[in-house]
């Protein structure tokens, strides 16, 4: 016969009380939503970590279509920022992965943003068409955004949390569509916009 847990608990509590002992019943809820990204989680993708109070440099730039994109306007969303160029061989395999993440997570709050370093608008447009990229590509014709971010090689990518704080950086290519990367993005998407405290 299978005993009903509630009845078992009731009998156990009655026995403890009858024995003259106090009972502390702790009711545990589900795991907290918005658990911070841990250093261990970032290590799975070999990402560099920022202290929790690090703010990435602000910037705004134009897409080849003439639309202005500003980092400040993305507050409340998780941002995956990648610096790239068409001649960068290691950037190319990453692009379909970024597109995959964009299609999968954009509705839930992820913005994938490609910063093209020092190339012509038309070249960027052709590259996007060839690789069927639909996530926004921002032009950095003078390399000013790259300088602010300290980028000296490509690809270099940054993860920014919903609260606008820098979370991690990747110097060199990563498997951005892998389960490890998705796990990190899932945790960041679950974080509240006003996150505080240590990561």
């Amino acid at each position: 016969m299978v005993k009903r847990p509630a009845r078992v608990l009731g009998w156990a509590a009655a026995w403890v009380i009858a024995s003259g002992l106090a009972v502390l019943v702790s009711i545990l809820g589900p795991p907290a939503v918005g658990a911070p990204v841990t250093p261990e989680l970032l290590k799975t993708l070999e990402l560099g970590r920022y202290p929790s109070d690090t703010t990435p440099p602000d910037f705004s730039g134009r897409t080849p279509e003439g639309k202005t994109v500003a980092l400040a306007g993305l507050r409340g969303r998780v941002v995956l920022l990648t610096f790239w160029a068409s001649w960068c061989l290691e950037c190319r395999p990453e692009m379909p992965m970024f597109e995959q993440l964009h299609r999968e997570f954009a509705r839930r709050g992820l913005t994938v943003l490609g910063i093209n370093v020092r190339e012509e608008s038309e070249l960027v447009r052709r590259y996007a068409t060839e690789l069927r990229l639909t996530f926004p590509l921002v032009l950095d014709p003078d390399g000013e955004i790259g300088t602010r971010y300290g980028v000296i090689g490509m690809p270099t990518s940054f993860l920014i949390g919903r609260d606008g704080r820098a979370v991690a950086l990747a110097v060199g290519p990563r498997e951005w569509a892998s389960p490890k990367a998705r796990a990190i993005i899932e945790v960041l998407l679950a974080e509240p916009g006003g996150r505080a405290g240590a990561r």
Binding site: G48, T54, P57, I152, V171
Partner: protein, 110 residues
């Protein structure tokens, strides 16, 4: 950048002589971290921006085209006294670590 990498290549030589390398620039801390991670530097890069206090006090602030620190090297002893100062030409090739290491060895003999 070439100088940062040169100090990285000779890092163990500096360590043997108990010298701590520090890089200081008029750049924001965010870009410093990207740079340090990109070059995999074994020593810290410090940001003196926007205050520029250290760069100014060492007399190497350059405001010609943009606000930067002039390429310069200072050897500071354990008492905080500047024992060596090198201001190579901007166009010069990589400043050799051996110049500083020799100065450290000479100091140790005194």
């Amino acid at each position: 950048m070439a100088n940062l990498s040169a100090r990285k290549a000779d890092y163990s030589k500096f360590q043997e002589l108990n010298v701590q390398n520090l890089g200081i620039a008029a750049s924001n801390p965010f870009s410093q971290k990207t740079l340090a991670d990109s070059l995999k530097l074994p020593y810290p890069l410090l940001s003196d921006f926007p205050g520029l206090k250290t760069i100014r006090s060492y007399g190497v602030l350059s405001e010609q085209r943009a606000i930067t620190a002039r390429r310069s090297f200072f050897l500071v002893d354990q008492q905080g006294i500047v024992r060596g100062k090198w201001l190579p030409d901007v166009e010069a090739a990589v400043f050799p670590s051996e110049t500083v290491l020799e100065a450290v060895r000479a100091l140790a003999k005194k």
